[in-house]
Assembly symmetry: C2
Homo-oligomer: 197 residues x 2
């Protein structure tokens, strides 16, 4: 079975491809397909909605099943920000450094040095015939205002998972994958896909 | 397998129960369960989001798989209204008559006697462990400003399905079920549930 993974991130493609190999699912990226489709706008106010929009958009146009993922950081004291805007918190093509700097600034403006937070990931699998499934993974913790560590990406240098004293960027890849929101979502996703196939 | 259908509409419960009988799925309603849980707020801006919120809310609290459905009428010339507000267009406890009257008023205010429209239905099945699946059904058509027919419910007296000259409220139950948004969504839903079981 051929499935398109609607992401520009080749690292994510490799990760999902690896996980689905044993199910006889061939994961192809948008780049592999070599089609030129305007990417859909991300207008959703939730991770599920964004992943769903992306997946159904491509599933209808390509007439193939499509996987999409949306994820981000939800900071309690910032009313859930950056949330669905995690990747573009400081602007459309913001770097991780710019996004992290803005998060720190916003917390400091409130006189805070930390806040409860969680990383959330949603995977969606959409068939062209407007049905499909989703899985959610999350990791609870807190964000701090002094970045630490050089591993990972995104807000990892600011995020300390519950039960840890290190930031996500200070963990080894193996540790991070074991506890990460994306890892958890993907695990359930694979289980569900196995049932459906 | 026991599944809760999170709806106050016993007609919908009967319909879904009937469809899932052959899968050995026992559909119980919130009323059957006799638990007193505050219903969740419907804050979603889409049918999927509302059905998803309802299903996951109860699945987590009851620790059982939960079915939820959200549906409504999307009127093109009204920018998608009443949409997720279909049942409460004219106010929280509005009757079908009040909602229909408001729809007619809004169209007439724009100088219109009709508008392209579609009925949309989303079914969601949520496991307590934050994964699940959805199916969507829709029926395209138009709305008019002169109500006709006494069958069905909701906006049926104003909605003429594509290829028909009668309103949904003038069709027989059998005709309506064959073409309806809910019927289509439910059909895919049953197929998916069969795969997952």
């Amino acid at each position: 079975m051929k499935v398109v993974f609607a992401t520009g991130n080749q690292g994510k493609v490799r990760e999902v491809r690896e996980k689905l190999k044993s199910l006889n699912v061939e994961v192809i990226s948008l780049k592999d397909l070599n089609v030129s489709l305007e990417p859909p706008e991300e207008t959703g106010e939730t991770f599920l909605e964004n992943a769903y929009q992306k997946a159904t958009y491509y599933a209808k146009r390509l007439n193939l099943p499509v996987i999409a993922e949306d994820s981000g950081l939800v900071v309690e004291k910032l009313g859930g920000l950056p949330g669905v805007r995690s990747a573009r918190f400081a602007g459309e093509n913001a770097t991780d450094e710019e996004n992290n700097a803005l998060l720190i600034k916003k917390l400091k403006e409130l006189g805070l040095t930390e806040s409860p937070a969680k990383y959330v990931s949603f995977f969606v699998f959409s068939y062209p015939e407007t049905f499909g499934f989703w899985s959610e993974g999350e990791v609870k913790g807190k964000v701090i205002t002094e970045p630490r560590g050089s591993g990972g990406f995104g807000y990892d240098p600011l995020f300390i998972p519950e039960g840890y004293s290190k930031t996500m960027a200070e963990l080894t890849i193996e540790e991070k994958n074991r506890i990460s929101h994306r890892g958890k979502a993907l695990e359930k996703f694979v289980r569900l896909l196995k049932d459906v196939l």
